[in-house]
Every structure is written in C-alpha cells, then in structure tokens.
C-alpha cells in the first residue's frame, strides 16, 4: 500500500516538474533589463479580453517587452488581488488591469504603486488614486455621437427613429441618451425620436418592445438599441415582422451575437470599440509609463502603428467608437 502511494505521488511530482521545464528560460526575464508588463483581464476565458490580448501581444512584440497575461478563471473576487500581489513579488515593471471590483482591487494596486510599479487600468477603472492612468475605451460623448451619426446615415438624415434602452434609470444609458439628443438637435433636426422603451437588459423583452414599436409606428425608419441584448432582440423583431431592410437596426453590442443578423441584412451596424486596439494602446501606455516617457500632464501618447492618442487629465482616450458591419464583423470573435 505504501509503495503504491509513494509511486503515485512521485509520478505526480514528475508531472509538476515536467510542466515547468517545458519552457526553459522563461523565468529569467523578471530580474533582467527587459521591461515586464503584466496584463490582467476581468476573467480569463472571456472572448472580449482574449481579443484585447491579441492587440496586446502585437504591441509587446513591436516594443520587445515581456508580456505576462493572467487573470481569474473562477468568479472569486479575491483572485485579482492575489494575482496582483504575486506580480508585486515577481517584480514586474508595470501592471495593466481591467478591474472587476473597483474598491477591492485598489487595495492591492496601491500596494504595487508604493513599490514603484506603474499602474494602468483599462476597460474598467479602479479608484483614481490607485493607478497612474486609465485607458478609456469610450466616452459617453463618443458613444452617443457615434450612434446618432450612424442612425442618421442609415436613414438619410431624416425620418423617425426609436430607442430601446436597458432601463430608464440606468446612469450610463441616461448619459448616452443625453449625447444622442444633443447630436440630433445640433446636426440632424429632421430626425425625430418617436419612442424610448426600456427592455430590462433582456433580449426577449427587447424583441416584444420592438414588435410593439413596429406596429405602432408605421413610419419608423430605424431602431437604435443601446444595450447589448437589445440589438439582436430588435433585429429578431424586424426580421419576423418582415421589415428587413425597410426598418434599419443599429446598436451598441458585441459582434458575435449580432453576426447572423448583420449577414442577413437585418442589422446594419453594431457599434462598440476596437478591442484589439484597446489592448495595443494599453501595452504602449504601460511601456511608456515604465520607461518614464509618459508622465502626468502629458497631452498625447504615441502608440506604434495606431498613431497618436489624446490624453484628458489621467485618462488616455481610445477615441472614436468602432463600427462593425458586414465587411469587417467576421474578423472579430467576441
């Protein structure tokens, strides 16, 4: 019995050690002169962040920096903190993180900052005192203006449109609507918003709301869905009503869940930001920060092949949202 036990456990150890040896020299960089940047997603399996990583890998290659990518694989909110603390001990030069828990992770980030590690947040910010810069993927103004511009383009600058939102009270939705309306009043006075309906962030409800909108408004030219489940929901309603092409659908959403409708010609545009560019810019910012070329007060930052980006206070702006349409949507997988 004892023999079996020891053999089994030794076999296990052999596997443990074998795993580490498969990548020789991988540990020699942390202490060297090469800059090490650690990048953390909210969760590791999320396709959105895998897409960010694609851009980050490209940036790391161009810059010749060492990129460590790790993040939680389970929904434990303490994991992000633990990984940050491991990175502090590991001695990385810069940490870029998409925060799951704003307050919680700030504790660990402040500790890292105190040890001289440069901190960048992207996608979701931490407390402002816990990081150096935030790479802001989209401002409410950028989103609102892009949605209205695209809707006007699809409608030929005139006609009725309706908005499906998540809820009438959600702060970010209200903010976006404010900018949509400002843009409409300023640039497209012939466009008219006839309805604003909440869908509670549910695809089914969005679909029934869209169906009701279609039957109540005969002149409706366009449905704008500003929460992600509403985009496929509205598209399904338009498709089932047989109004494909007559009523345009656009919205703020993820490429994967809209691909089908985009290829069917139901949905014309899905607006979001380019996640690969987000990852790319994040790594360039982290590198510049670690090298000392990016400092508080800078107004711009150069990021390789993407050119120059604006900095507003301590947030680096990714710039205009990205429009996914029939031509480019298949290049993205998230």
């Amino acid at each position: 019995m004892n023999k079996i036990l020891s053999v089994l456990l030794l076999a296990c150890l052999a596997i443990v050690s074998g795993c580490g040896k498969s990548e020789p020299g991988s540990s020699s960089n942390a202490g060297g002169s090469k800059i090490t940047i650690a990048l953390m997603p909210k969760s590791k399996g999320n396709a959105y962040f895998i897409s960010c990583k694609k851009g980050a890998d490209k940036a790391a290659k161009e810059l010749g920096v060492d990129l460590v990518f790790d993040g939680p694989t389970d929904p434990d909110p303490a994991k992000q903190n633990e990984i940050i603390e491991n990175w502090i001990t590991l001695g990385v030069n810069a940490i870029a993180v998409a925060c799951e828990n704003r307050e919680g992770i700030s504790t660990a980030l402040r500790k890292a900052k105190a040890k001289g590690i440069k901190i960048i947040t992207y996608d979701a910010d931490a407390m402002t005192d816990a990081r150096d810069f935030f790479v802001n993927q989209a401002t409410p103004e950028g989103i609102g203006f892009a949605l209205m511009d695209e809707a006007a383009r699809l409608c030929g600058n005139e006609g009725e449109f309706a908005i499906i939102t998540a809820s009438l009270t959600a702060a970010n939705m209200i903010e976006w609507q404010k900018y949509i309306e400002a843009r409409r009043a300023d640039k497209y006075p012939n466009m008219k918003m006839v309805a604003l309906r909440p869908c509670d962030d549910l695809k089914d409800k969005a679909q029934s709301e869209a169906t009701a909108l279609l039957s109540a408004n005969a002149n409706l030219k366009c449905i704008m869905a500003i929460c992600s489940p509403a985009v496929p929901g509205a598209a399904e309603a338009v498709k089932q009503a047989g109004k494909t092409g007559k009523v345009k659908v656009l919205g703020l959403g993820l490429p994967n869940e809209n691909k089908r409708y985009v290829h069917d010609g139901v949905t014309d545009s899905v607006i979001l930001w380019n996640t690969e560019d987000l990852g790319y810019l994040t790594i360039f910012a982290a590198n510049a920060l670690a090298k000392g070329s990016l400092k508080a007060g800078n107004k711009t930052i150069k990021a390789g092949t993407l050119g120059e980006f604006q900095i507003e206070g301590d947030s680096i702006l990714l710039g205009k949202p990205f429009t996914f349409n029939k031509d480019n949507i298949d290049k993205f997988d998230f």
């Binding site: 036990l5 076999a11 020699s28 909110p77 919680g104």
Partner: protein, 335 residues
C-alpha cells in the same frame, strides 16, 4: 485487530510524510525556477492568501471526520462579510462589536445546519446544499447584489494587509485556530468522538457518547470559523461584497481530502489538512513564479486530489482482487 490498527496508523503517517515531501519538493522546484519564489515576501504572500481557505479547511476537518460535509461555508463567508459591513457602516457599530456580532451570526448559521442535521436527521449534504444557496441568496438580497462595503478604517485593514512583529497580521489568528482545532481533535476525548462517529455512529451512541450534541458542535464551530474568515477576508480585500468566498467550500474540502481525511469519515488528521492547504497554496503561487498559466494550477490540484483518493482505495481493490483469486478454489467444491 491490533496489528490492523497499527498498519493503518503507519499508513496515515505515510500519507502525511509523503504529502510533506510533496510540499518540500514543490518548494525546492519552484525556488529553482522562480527568482523571488523563496523570498520572505513571497512566503508571507502564500500565507496571507491561504488563511481564509485554511481556516475553512480546519473547520471542515472535524465535520468530514464524522462522515459529514459542510457545503455552506463559502456562502456563509459571503453572508458574514456583508453583515459585518452592514453592522459597521449602517448600524454604526465600532469594529470590535461588529466583529463580535458577525461571529454570533456565524454561530447561529452553523446552528441552523446543526439543527437540521441532528434534530431532523437530514443528510448533511442536502442540508448544507440548501444553506449554501440560502446564505448566498441572503447576502445577495441584503445588498441587492450591488451594494459594496468599503472605506474601512486603516486600523481594521491592518489585520489583513500589514505585518505585525514581522509576519502578516492575520497569521497568528490562523496559527491559534490550527493549534486549537488540533488539540480538540487529537488530544481531547471530545474530539476523538468525531472519528468514532465517522467510523460507526450507532456504535458510538451505544458507547454512551451524545452523538447529536457532538455533531452539532462541529457544525457550529464551522459557522464561527467561517465568520472569522469573513472578517479577515474583508480586511485583506478592503471590501465586502455578496460574492465573497465563492467556491471556497470546494477548495476547503479539496485540502481536507488531499490531507488524508477520508470522505467516508473516521480517518484523518488536522496536520494532514494543514499540509493539504500548503500543497495547494504553494502550487498555486509557485506556478505564477514559474510563469505557468493559472489553469495548470487547477489541473494539477485535481490530479493531486485524484491520486490521493485512489491511493487509499487501490490497496482495498487489490485486496479484494486477491480474495477473488482465492474464491474459485472454494467454488468447485461447493457445486
């Protein structure tokens, strides 16, 4: 009987010795590939990160020894964390009082498990599966899933984040709990009855031991320990949210079983559990330093666990195989 017992004892000893070797070899290996793995800072990191799961595993040991299980400890950690936050922020209690009330809640919650298991004679797996959802659901209902407690005073955050006499401040609490539970399980007749219950509950009852009361005690203890873990967790993260401790019950059970405690009860030690916690914690941390992806840690933990489990059943299987080989000899005679 006596020799059987003796052999069993040495086997247990072997299990723990081997586990100790595993921990040491893990250490040596990661120290050779990771530049800062062996540093004092990192050693403290490992300790800091394993205190909460370690506490839950310690409390889980007596329960599994009685052939029971408590799936609710992770959820209870979450509930206690947000209640602690509520006591402090909304009821304006000073931190020590809020902590005391939280521990009281933990005891009550453990008591609920205990009552259902001992009075109603329901299986622990079902009861704690119920309270697993109940406690997490309560935590989510109270905070509506979004309310987060934060901005705790620095004096409280000291417990989870700073050092006291050179070591992480929460480690002394863990050491005290480990010593306490070790003494309880291994040095008191009270604690020895846990193993007796796991071996043969009816026999233990005939021996005059109040089985129900002992069982109840184990679950209440787990509730109290989960509350303590919740306070340390809140202090380490600086926030309390309804999702605190998600999945911790499984990590704790893994550590206990890896430590050589039989899931069928009766067999196991507290120091084995501690080694189980250490083996997993060192592996998790070491892989980061070896620049290996985190998923490998889960895979290797699973592998370690399966090996630990099979290593105790394979000898039994071999024994029964040997018996079966003998039966054909007797069979032709009877037919």
């Amino acid at each position: 009987m006596n020799t059987d017992k003796h052999r069993f004892k040495t086997a247990i000893l072997r299990h723990e010795t081997i586990l100790l070797c595993v921990v040491i070899l893990e250490w040596i290996y990661f120290n050779s590939v990771g530049l800062r793995f062996g540093s004092l800072d990192n050693t403290f990191d490992i300790m800091r990160h394993s205190v909460e799961i370690g506490l839950l595993a310690l409390a889980m040991t007596p329960i599994i020894l009685t052939a029971g299980i408590d799936l609710s400890v992770g959820s209870l950690l979450g509930l206690c964390a947000i209640l602690f936050g509520k006591f402090w922020r909304d009821a304006h209690m000073p931190i020590p009082l809020a902590a005391a009330c939280t521990i009281g809640i933990g005891a009550l919650a453990g008591g609920l498990n205990a009552v259902l298991i001992t009075w109603l004679r329901l299986p622990p797996l079902i009861v704690t599966l119920g309270t697993f959802s109940l406690f997490r659901g309560l935590a989510e209902a109270i905070t509506r899933g979004v309310d987060t407690f934060t901005n705790f005073p620095a004096s409280f955050l000291f417990l989870g984040q700073e050092r006291w006499l050179g070591i992480p401040a929460q480690v002394p609490i863990f050491v005290a709990a480990a010593i306490g539970i070790w003494l309880l399980v291994h040095r008191t007749t009270f604690g020895r009855s846990f193993r007796a219950i796991g071996f043969a509950p009816e026999g233990t009852r005939y021996a005059g031991i109040p089985v129900e009361r002992r069982l109840a005690m184990a679950y209440v203890l787990a509730g109290i320990v989960a509350a303590v873990a919740a306070i340390i967790y809140t202090s380490r993260l600086g926030q309390a949210k309804a999702d605190a401790g998600t999945g911790y019950e499984l990590f704790a059970i893994t550590a206990v079983v890896l430590g050589g405690t039989s899931i069928f009860g009766g067999v196991g030690t507290v120091h084995g559990t501690l080694l189980g916690v250490a083996a997993i914690a060192v592996l998790n941390n070491g892989l980061v330093h070896a620049r290996q992806p985190r998923e490998v840690a889960g895979m290797l933990t699973g592998l370690l666990l399966i090996l630990a489990l099979t290593s105790s059943t394979i000898p039994k299987m071999l024994a029964s195989l040997r018996e079966r080989r003998q039966t054909p000899v007797t069979k032709p005679i009877t037919t």
